[in-house]
Every structure is written in C-alpha cells, then in structure tokens.
C-alpha cells in the first residue's frame, strides 16, 4: 500500500486522517483507489490535483510509477505566471 499525505483541508474528506493508504503502482491507480475509498475526494481529484512523489511535483499524468516506499503527497493543481 502507498501512504498518501493529504493537504490539511482535505482531512474533512477522510474522517480527519492526514495520511491515508491507497493501492496502486502508478498515479492513476493510486488516485482511483483514493477516490473509491474516500468518495468525498472524488470531486477534488476530478478537478485536477498534483502529486509530489519523493519530492518531485507531478501533474496528474496517469502512468508515473509509484512504489510502496515512495513519499506521496497530494497537492492542489498548480498554475503559474
């Protein structure tokens, strides 16, 4: 299982948990599993999120590999200047 850290304000969607577990070997599988386990996260994920995997920030491309030992942090979708 992959440990996914959520940003604080998402805790209301996970019953107060800041870190949750999800199964999967890539971004798509992990996000799909998160949305399945915590339906309140579904709209957030569908609206676009970023993921930091071992310190590197990725947008929501499906096939970025994730291993169980990866540090995974769910982050808001990024926009810049």
């Amino acid at each position: 299982m992959v440990k996914v850290t959520l940003w604080g304000s998402l805790r209301s969607a996970t019953g107060g948990l800041e870190q949750v577990e999800a199964s999967g070997t890539n971004t798509r599988e992990v996000l799909d599993d998160l949305a399945k386990k915590y339906p309140a996260l579904e709209t957030v994920i569908a609206g676009g999120v970023s993921l930091a995997i071992d310190g590197t920030i990725y947008k929501d491309a499906w096939f970025t590999p994730i291993s169980d030992s990866s540090e995974v942090v769910l982050m808001p979708y990024m926009a810049g200047g």
């Binding site: 850290t5 940003w7 604080g8 304000s9 998402l10 805790r11 209301s12 969607a13 309140a40 930091a52 071992d54 310190g55 590197t56 920030i57 990725y58 947008k59 491309a61 970025t64 540090e71 942090v73 982050m75 808001p76 979708y77 990024m78 926009a79 810049g80 200047g81």
Partner: protein, 749 residues
C-alpha cells in the same frame, strides 16, 4: 562520446552558457516584429466593448437597437451569443469575458460592437442602453468576509469551508505539520503581526489585442498576443461551439505577459463579432481597459505568528492568509499557503488560507502567483525577530534554511535545493558588508517558487543545407527562442547560427501548455533536446546506410556521424551538412520531434539584498543598491537569466513601494492608467546586480531549473525590512508609499 552516456550533461558545453543574439532580435530593434495590435487584414472591422460603470448590478435589459443604427456598425454581441458551459471554471471565464445577468465589477464587459472604424465602434457601444439594478458592492477582503457583506454568488464555496464564513469565501486550505501550539511554548520570543498587500497588475506594456475571423463554414482564425495559444483555443472553441481543430490560433509577438496573458478576455468576443458580422474583427484594449478589466493579482490580509529561541531557531510558525481574487472563485490562496514557509526547515508549521470573492476583476496569474504576498509576511516577521533578538538576519535564515531532506511546509521532502548555497553567496558578497549611512537600511529576504513542467511539443527539421528549423508551441515571453536554439545546437553539435526557432500556430505543432510557471526553458528544452536526439538517430541511420554498416556502430559527435571504432569500419566523419544534402537520396527529409509531458521542474530559491534610504521628512524611499542571488540550475543563456532576475526584482520593487489598485467608496477603480498606477521608471532605480548560482536540476538533461518567477518573491519583504530598519519603525502594509511611511514615522513620535 556515446549517446547513452550523454543523457545528462552538466559540463563541457560549447554553446550553453554563452550569450548569443536572440533569433527575433533584428525584428524587434527595427520595429518590424508584429505584436497583437500590429496586424491588419483586408476588410477588417474594429471592435469595442461596453463596460459596466457599476461594481455590482443586475443586468435587467440590454437594448442595442440604437447602436445598430449607427454608421459603420456591423454587429453587436452580448452574453446571449456564447454557448453555456458545463464546468464552473469555463463558465466563470466566459462570464468574465462577457457579463451574464450580473455585472460584477467596474469595467465588466456587458456588450460589444464591431464597426468599420474603432471610433465608430466606440461611439456605437456608448449608444447601447443597459438597464441596471444596482446592488450593494464590496471590494476589500476584510469587508467581504464580514457576516453582512454583499454576496457575489451563493453556492460557489467548496464543501470544506469552515462554519462561520459567508458565501464569498470559496476556498479554504490548510498546510503544515507538527504542533504549533507546543512549538510556541518553546519560544523565547514570539512576534505576531498583521499585514496587508494591495492588488497589483502585471503591467505589461502591450495591451491585450487580437484579430479574429470566422468563415461561414465554421472555421476560425485568431491572431492574438497570449502566453498560450492552445489555452486560447481551449477556451474559445467551446465558448463559440467550434471543434478545436477548426479554430487556428496564431500567437503574435507578445509585449509582456507575466501571467496576465494566461487567460482570455477579448478573444471570444472578437470571434463572436467576427462570426456575427462575417468579417475579420480587430480588438485592442485601451490602457484603461487593461487596468479595469484584465486580471490583476490578489490583494491580501494576513496574520503571521512565529516563535524563536534566543539563538535564532524557529520553534513554530503560523500564518492565516486571506486573499481576495475578484468576482469569481480562484485557487491562488493554495499557492500562497504552500509557499509561505517553504524556505524554512520547521518542526511545527501551519498555514491556513481563505479565498474571498469581491467586486473586482477576476484575478489572473502574476509571476509566482500567490507567493510574493505570503512570503513577504513571513520574511518580515523573521526579520523583526532577528532584530529584536540582536541576531544577524542572514545567519538566522541559514540556521533555519530548508535543505535536502527537509520536510517542506507544504508536505513533500525536498531533494536537491540551493537555498543554503544562495544564502552563503549573499553572506559572502561585499554588498552584505558595505557600510550604511544615516536614514539608510539594509533588507534581506528569501524567495521560493515551484516551477512547472507539463506538456510541450517540438519539431526539428533539418534543411537540405544542413541548417535547422525548430518549431515549438510556446510563445516566447523572455528570450526563450534563443535558449531553445542554443540547446538544439548544443545537442546537434552545430553552431548556434545554424538553428532558427519559431513559435508555431495551433495547427502546425503539437499541443503545448501555456508559457507559465517558469516552465519553457525547462520543458521545451527537454522536448528540444529529445527532438534533436530523434533527428540524430535518423541521421546516424542515413550514415550507416551509406557506409553499409550497422546503425549501432555509428556515433554522433561535433555535428557529424562517425563510425564507433575501427571495428565499425574506417570512414571519415560524415557531417550533418553532407547527410542533409543527400537526404532525398538516402530516405527523404530528416526531422526529429518530441512531445514532452515533463515533470521534475525543480523548485528554485532566491535571496535578495537591498539598501534603501528613507527621507524622514517625506517618507520617500530611494533604492540605493540591489543584489539578486538565485539558483538557476544551469543558465542556458546567462544574459536572459540575469534579465529575468532583474525584471522580477524591479516588478517587486514597484509592488513594495508604489503600485496598487485603488478603489473608491463607489467601487470604481481610481487609477486605471500608468500615471497613477506607478510602475518603476528608469530614474527610480540603481543597477540591479545579479549572482547566478548553478546547482544542476537532476530532472533536466542539462540541469535547467525555471528562473522566471522566483525573482519577484523576495523584493517585497527585502524592501520592507530595509525601510523598517532605515526608518526604525516596522512597516506592515504594501505598498510602502510615502504617505504611509511618513505616517508611520510620525506615529513613532
């Protein structure tokens, strides 16, 4: 050198790191370069927009009959002429381009006219009769959050908004870790301050402009000044009900963007007018329209509390940020809350943020959106703590600096980052030791920005004479065509002047995300390098065919194919020119291409040092000396890296000292022009010294990091800290205009 070993290159560059002339330079110094407003086409009409004079009103009715009778008028459009959108964000953007049912800010577009001349269109627009029901308005963030505030739209808040907030509060975010309350107990000194920053505008010198045409077959053409022509298509095609590939968008030269041209304002309107009139329509904003109705940045109201031990260790840090982003929901608050404490290695940190709607234009990105105003507050409090504890402010930052392995304030653990090196460079710079005179002060601040990757496409064509044409899909806002040409030349092993890079339109090159997030040199660089490798693969194949050897036995070096060793056969190197000359005989035209979906842009840090002198009798601040230190990863074209550092610093200087959106009690913008929206002029400034640090980004073949945005982040606090020390009173509101500084000095007694 074998190709497989060249996946990463951090030294031995021949072209990268030099300062050649930019490919678009001659056009730009001779006045030939064509910007948004410079194109005219036969039988063209001109568009003009009627804008709401009210900050908040219900649109009861619009009667365009008198306007349609005016000379030269060919079409009038209103919100009824656009397709309704299913997604909130799309509909918000459309509603911002043309008000639907409600005018939400002073300057909000209500209708538009196309006529034979601009003057006729303006005169006709003035004849459109709009009946308004005026509603109460609110423009300031603290007022908009009050329980009895006028509400812009109900039902737009995300579900996680804490109770007690009114419906203007649309987003709520929380970042951080540890236990801040426990951390504050360990502090020897706690400083808690409240800050405000004004909304500022990107201030690009070229007003928004476009030329649109639509055929009866439903095909559209758009010429436009933008940071992202695919983005323009992504919005306009659905707004007009077109298939994406039927709308070809060609980016003009762009006269400055800084994030402000990452969305649409006039473009869908011009297309609708073209559709309705059957003729090409040109639209150009006046400067007043740019200020009233494009997208300035957020204004903010923030409380910061930081605890520190006597020896300068931060024990806990907390920020409560409230951003107003105009008349629609926006997510900039998340970026503010994420970046606020990013420069620090903290055990206990918490950043909370609220986004609030007001009767102001919908905010657009502005260089590191959300970060400057957040980091300003934190860096101000860190400075005050250092001052009160009698500690060197740079040493305090070094003591608490984020580094590899730090759990960042926004969650992930940092990998290779350059903050400590950047702080050390500042510490060892003569500027930091230079003596100061009376009424002078020195300020320092760290800055941070994420930098983005994303999608970009590059096609690289080898011409029959061996020169190279690169087509990419990202508008060049700061000299990127030069750095892209350099990377192509470097990879191919040919001289820089053999490569010419252009920006293609939406139908001539693959999709490319908007030029934003400091992503172009990084992402388009990756795509260019890989496109070059793709072409090299083809060229090696051609050489192998000619030599009759295996393709794997050919290497590429110094712009030529060579056999990989004596076993491959004894052949003299076959130059790119020779391969190109024979291309039609050896298999056809030669090209390489790459469509990147890149990540790993690499965060970047900067440190700014500034000396100011404050006139105690007038509150006037003079910038005496300014030095920017920034980690650029690898600087491809150092002159343009310096340019980004200098330009960002000076925009930050403007933000710190004089720039602000000023709304009257009537909800109208009072200073929609360069006279009273005061961006820095040449005589306001000293030279801006730069120190580029090169800490390679492992996520890029040449080590590139984004450099464009970080430089606007530190100036706000650096200058505030310098002014506060020079005037011996802590300033907590931007801009630090002379009346505000003098009032603070006089209040001190």
């Amino acid at each position: 050198m074998n190709m497989t070993k060249r996946l990463r290159k951090t030294e031995g560059f021949k072209i990268v790191g030099t300062r050649p002339q930019r490919p678009d330079g001659i056009e730009k110094v001779t006045g030939r370069a064509l910007y948004g407003a410079d194109l005219s086409v036969p039988d063209m009409l001109h568009g003009a927009v009627l804008r709401s004079p009210h900050p908040h009103a219900r649109i009861v009715s619009i009667d365009a009959s008198a306007a349609l009778e005016m000379p030269g008028v060919r079409a009038v459009v209103t919100s009824a002429d656009f397709k309704k959108q299913a997604k909130f964000f799309m509909q918000d953007t459309l509603d911002n381009c043309m008000a639907r049912d409600f005018a939400l800010y002073d300057g909000h577009a209500v209708a538009a006219v196309a006529a034979k001349t601009r003057k006729q269109a303006e005169e006709a627009a003035a004849k459109i009769r709009v009946e308004y029901e005026i509603l109460p308005h609110v423009t300031e963030v603290e007022d908009a959050m009050k329980p009895d505030a006028p509400i812009l739209h109900a039902g737009r808040s995300y579900r996680n908004i804490p109770e007690g907030n009114n419906a203007n509060v649309t987003n709520y975010v929380e970042f951080g870790h540890g236990d801040v309350e426990a951390g504050f107990k360990d502090a020897d000194l706690i400083v808690e301050r409240s800050f405000k920053t004004a909304a500022t505008h990107q201030g690009y010198i070229e007003p928004n402009a476009c030329v649109a045409s639509m055929g009866p077959d439903g095909r559209g053409e758009l010429w436009v000044t933008t940071q992202g022509h695919y983005m323009v298509r992504d919005f306009c095609a659905p707004f007009l009900g077109l298939e994406e590939s039927k709308l070809r968008v060609t980016p003009s030269e762009i006269g400055g963007g800084f994030g402000g041209k990452t969305t649409v304002f006039l473009e869908p309107v011009a297309l609708a007018l073209a559709q309705k009139s059957g003729k090409p329509v040109k639209m150009v904003m006046s400067r007043e329209e740019v200020f009233r109705a494009s997208g300035p940045t957020v204004s903010s109201w923030t409380d910061v509390k930081i605890g520190m031990t006597r020896d300068g260790k931060i024990t806990a840090a907390q920020a409560k940020l409230r951003y107003q982003g105009g008349a629609f929901p926006c997510g900039t608050i998340a970026l503010g809350a994420m970046t606020a404490f990013a420069a620090y290695d903290l055990e206990n940190v918490q950043a909370l943020g609220w986004n609030v709607m007001t009767n102001r234009p919908m905010q657009a990105s502005y260089r590191a959106p959300g970060a400057p105003m957040a980091i300003y507050t934190v860096e101000s409090v860190v400075d005050e703590l250092s001052q009160k504890l009698g500690l060197d402010p740079l040493e305090v930052r070094l003591k608490n600096a984020a580094k590899k392995g730090t759990k960042s304030s926004y969650g992930p653990t940092f990998s290779d980052i350059g903050l400590v090196a950047t702080l050390e460079a500042a510490k060892n710079h003569p500027h930091y030791r230079a003596p100061l005179g009376p009424n002078q002060g020195r300020g320092i601040s760290c800055g941070f920005w994420f930098n983005f990757g994303g999608n970009s496409s590059v096609s690289l064509h080898v011409s029959p004479d061996g020169t190279v044409a690169v087509t990419e899909g990202n508008p060049d806002i700061g000299g990127s065509r030069a750095s892209i040409s350099m990377m192509a030349a470097e990879e191919l092993g040919i001289p820089y002047d053999k490569v010419r890079t252009i920006v293609g339109d939406t139908n001539s090159i693959g999709y490319s995300d908007t030029t934003d997030g400091s992503r172009v040199t990084f992402t388009v660089g990756i795509a260019t390098i890989k496109a070059a490798r793709d072409a090299i693969r083809v060229m090696k194949g051609r050489a192998a065919k000619v030599w009759g050897i295996d393709e794997d036995a050919v290497i590429w070096e110094d712009g030529a194919a060579k056999p990989s060793g004596p076993n491959a056969g004894e052949f003299p190197p076959m130059t790119m020119e020779e391969i190109a000359r024979n291309a039609f005989k050896t298999g056809g035209p030669i090209a390489g291409h790459y469509e990147a979906n890149s990540d790993g842009a690499g965060v970047s840090f900067g440190v700014h040092l500034v000396d100011v002198e404050v006139d105690p009798e007038t509150g006037f601040t003079k910038i005496l000396r300014y030095t920017v230190f920034q980690d650029a990863g690898k600087a491809i074209h150092p002159a343009y890296v310096e340019g980004q550092m200098q330009g960002g610093a000076v925009q930050g200087i403007g933000w710190a000292l004089n720039e602000e959106y000023i709304y009257g009690a009537d909800g109208r913008l009072q200073n929609p022009g360069f006279l009273d929206y005061r961006i820095p002029v040449a005589s306001d400034l000293p030279m801006i010294d730069t120190v580029i640090l090169e800490i390679p980004n492992p996520g890029h073949p040449y080590g590139v990091r984004g450099v464009g945005e970080t430089s606007i982040v530190p100036p706000l606090a650096a200058i505030s800290n310098a002014v506060s020390r020079a005037a011996d009173v802590r300033l907590c509101e931007l801009p630090m205009s002379p009346p505000r500084v003098l009032a603070a000095i006089d209040a001190k007694g």
